[in-house]
């Protein structure tokens, strides 16, 4: 049994491929944990970043700089009364948030955080992801219908129309990325997510920059469609609070509502991960084929092997990032108001600085350093998209529904088709 568990560590495939269900379960739970933490972090970051864009401070009370705010929020949501309207369809009402959560989370099964860091690698990964992510709309329709109230119904209908409209543009953009995978030496492409990243490695380019500017256009189409798919500003019509109050989740409260919230952020992470995998080289660091002159870094516990200077420099980035964060936290500690009541907050922030620095130190250890790199770069790229999401929200007014549909059907769809045909033509000519 123990061999069964430890045996996987030496293999270099995903747990799904290795058929190791224990590790698959561990990966699944890790993904759940990671995503839940990421969502909490996102909530905090969104509130902070948005606040600073809007010349205010955001959460400041719960924990130093409001760091514990997401925890307080989730506790509150867990303990809130759960109201099911009288004339709602109870079963559907109950199932809808679960449906949305399942759809949002299940996408992560095929997302490769590293060459082996995925639950499983399917040869139809992309197809699976497109299929599952569009299941989310089902949950939203269920929520709107079950509520038996005008605003949720309108919100869910809008939502479904919007999601299916942008699904097409999204699919076409994905096809053009898949098309690029077939420019391998073997001449055959792949639908596997890991395969797509490997194809980018083999072709020495991120697909965003392949057949310039076609790859970028496809990424743009996908990036617009993914904002619409996740119902975020400026396409947040299903929950446009100035018109539909809260859209499809108007009648939801407490933990059920927070499931929708969780699903929304998870879906954001999921589609960003897909964009990163398809166009931005997945787990690959920037300039993956530039190694620099070989140097040897001495260390104490194993025989030092020479490695490229650029490789080495990039391998330090994760640690450096954590050191920078630790430095920010430390400066924050120094700038805390000198008030006896702020002592706990000050201590907390100081402890956070220490923890961050400690993580940074751990990341300097060569074996950890090597293994964590992939995940770090993947997460960093996703974080860029996440930041963009927040930025959109701070900047854009909301589209009107007809404009949104017009954009989807009359701009994004022809654009996706056009970029696909152009890629194909260029691909044949090359």
């Amino acid at each position: 049994m123990l061999d069964y568990v430890t045996g996987y560590l030496s293999s270099n495939v995903t747990p799904g491929q290795a058929g190791n269900w224990v590790w698959a379960l561990i990966y699944i739970l890790l993904i759940f944990l990671g995503i839940s933490l990421a969502v909490m972090g996102m909530v905090w970051l969104e509130r902070k970043i948005l606040a600073h864009m809007q010349i205010r401070l955001g959460p400041m009370r719960v924990g130093p700089h409001g760091l514990l705010q997401p925890i307080a929020d989730s506790l509150k949501l867990l303990l809130k009364e759960d109201i099911i309207p009288e004339n709602a369809d109870k079963v559907v009402f109950w199932l809808a948030p679960l449906m949305v959560v399942i759809a949002a989370f299940t996408v992560f099964i095929v997302i490769p955080f590293g060459p082996t860091h995925a639950v499983t690698d399917m040869n139809i990964g992309i197809l699976f992801m497109l299929g599952v992510s569009s299941l989310g709309v089902l949950g939203i329709i269920m929520a709107g219908w079950a509520s038996n109230s005008h605003y949720p119904l309108m919100g869910s209908l809008r939502s479904s129309a919007q999601m299916v409209s942008y699904e097409i543009a999204m699919g076409l953009a994905v096809v053009s990325a898949v098309l690029m995978t077939s420019f391998n030496a073997g001449g055959s492409g792949t639908l596997s997510m890991i395969g797509i990243v490997q194809a980018q490695a083999a072709q020495h380019t991120w697909f965003a920059f392949k057949f310039f500017p076609l790859g970028l256009v496809a990424l743009f189409v996908f990036a617009v469609a993914m904002v619409a798919e996740t119902n975020r500003a400026p396409f947040d019509l299903p929950e446009a609070e100035s018109e539909l109050v809260a859209g499809f989740h108007t009648e939801y409260s407490g933990f059920r509502w927070s499931l929708f919230f969780l699903a929304e952020y998870t879906a954001m992470l999921a589609v960003s991960s897909i964009a990163v995998t398809l166009w931005l080289g997945g787990w690959m660091r920037p300039f993956p084929s530039w190694h620099g002159p070989a140097i040897t870094i001495p260390n104490f516990w194993e025989h030092a092997a020479p490695l490229g200077a650029v490789d080495f420099a990039f391998s330090l980035v994760p640690a450096v990032c954590f050191f920078v964060l630790a430095a920010f936290a430390f400066i924050g500690t120094l700038r805390m108001p000198k008030h006896p009541l702020m002592k706990i907050q000050k201590g907390g922030l100081g402890a956070l600085a220490l923890v961050l620095a400690g993580i940074g130190l751990v990341l300097l250890i060569p074996p950890v350093r090597d293994r964590i790199q992939d995940i770090f770069w993947f997460v960093a790229k996703v974080a860029v998209f996440m930041y963009l999401y927040i930025w959109y929200r701070g900047t854009f007014p909301r589209y009107r529904f007809d404009q949104l549909m017009k954009l989807g059907w009359k701009v994004m769809l022809p654009m996706g088709l056009g970029v696909l045909i152009a890629t194909a033509v260029v691909g044949v000519l090359v």
């Binding site: 010349i55 005008h150 609070e241 929200r393 007014p397 909301r398 529904f401």
Partner: protein
């Protein structure tokens, strides 16, 4: 225009009456308000929808009705003065100006020049504050959340000036019948000048965020169009009227206070759509700053209160006096029976009359436009319901 059933607002929507057409949905009756994030208070709009398209509206108002006109009949002229601040609470100073001037006319007295200058400064600052609040909330209705915080930051500076001047920020009760009660505080002029130079670039900042923003333009251009003749027919005044191309402003047409002594333009639009109304209001903010800086430069010395008897007993008669409030023509029709209490005070509220145009503006447009149009009409329910 002469068919009352067509132009005269909403007719009563019979909920039982449904139109059935082939492949067309039942009309959905959507109730918007009184508890809705974007009806600016307690406005209730019943929308008759075909999908997302508005077939008709009916406004239900009165949720904030406090019977101001009845209260007035039971108070003396002086006692009623603070009540008017509660009508359009985002432009309380303008309300007070209109009321004080109306009673002054009835008493046949005039406020001294210095008081008039102070009135102009505070009223124009109030117009600025009102427009800022409008811009923030209107942008929020359309989904841009950031301008709200910018405008509130700058509005705060105006409220600080009010607070220093009379101790109150929102319902200021700044003016008294016959002039002003308070002399300007030390450094008032400096504060106002500082504010003007502070806020001028900020208005550019708002414009930078919105004026050329594609989504903003798409959301507002051609939405809620109201032509000039329609405006006049519906009695719509203020920026909404000016955005339709009618160059009419009571400050120019029938100057009151000290407005005849200042140079300013009346900004107008051409299309009468939401975008033009936005541009007109932003331009008005700049003009207000212009007036404020002229007024603060030329503020004369002298008394701030005319000789007013302790007990106000206007002679028997009636008066109608109106001012250009931020939202439009704000009029007071006062009937005096020679006693200390007004026999009747009628407030002609701009918001109430402007709101009537909602139906004409949104018919055939989408639900999201209803929100945009309610925002662009710049109504305050305290004034609609009184």
């Amino acid at each position: 225009m002469t068919d009352p059933t067509k132009s005269g607002g909403a007719s009563h929507l019979d909920l039982a009456e449904r139109e059935h057409t082939f492949l067309d949905a039942n009309e959905l009756v959507l109730n918007m308000g009184p508890q809705h994030p974007s009806t600016h208070g307690v406005l209730r709009v019943i929308l008759k929808l075909d999908g997302e398209k508005v077939r008709g509206t009916e406004c239900v108002i009165g949720y904030l009705h406090r019977g101001v006109e009845k209260i007035a009949e039971n108070r003396t002229y002086t006692m009623f003065n603070p009540y008017v601040d509660r009508m359009d609470y985002v432009a309380a100073v303008s309300n007070g100006l209109g009321y004080c001037e109306a009673v002054e006319k009835l008493l046949n007295i005039e406020a001294p020049p210095r008081a008039n200058y102070i009135r102009v400064i505070l009223t124009e600052l109030n117009r600025l504050a009102s427009h800022m609040l409008w811009l923030g909330t209107h942008a929020l209705d359309i989904g841009a959340i950031t301008p709200l915080f910018y405008t509130f930051r700058d509005r705060e500076e105006i409220l600080k000036i009010y607070e220093k001047y009379c101790g109150a920020r929102l319902t200021t009760h700044a003016f008294r019948i016959g002039g002003c009660l308070y002399e300007t505080y030390d450094g008032f002029e400096a504060d106002v000048k500082k504010f003007v130079s502070f806020v001028t670039p900020k208005i550019d900042e708002y414009e930078e965020l919105l004026t050329t923003n594609r989504i903003w333009v798409e959301r507002t251009r051609g939405v809620g169009v109201l032509s000039g003749p329609d405006c006049i027919d519906l009695g719509v005044t203020g920026p909404v009227l000016r955005a339709s191309g009618v160059k009419w402003d009571l400050r120019k047409a029938k100057p009151y206070a000290a407005y005849s002594q200042f140079q300013f333009e009346i900004p107008t639009g051409q299309n009468g759509d939401t975008y033009d109304r936005y541009l007109v209001r932003v331009a008005e903010m700049r003009q207000s700053l212009r007036i404020v800086s002229q007024a603060v430069e030329g503020i004369p010395e002298g008394p701030i209160m005319a000789k007013v008897p302790k007990v106000l007993k206007p002679p028997v008669g009636e008066i109608y006096h109106s001012i250009e409030a931020p939202k439009g023509e704000l009029g007071y029709f006062i009937v005096s029976d020679g006693s200390t209490q007004p026999y009747r005070i009628r407030v002609r509220p701009p918001s109430f009359v402007n709101l009537q145009a909602l139906d004409k503006m949104v018919r055939g447009q989408l639900v999201a436009d209803v929100v945009a149009v309610i925002g662009t009409l710049d109504i305050v329910l305290g004034e609609v319901d009184r």
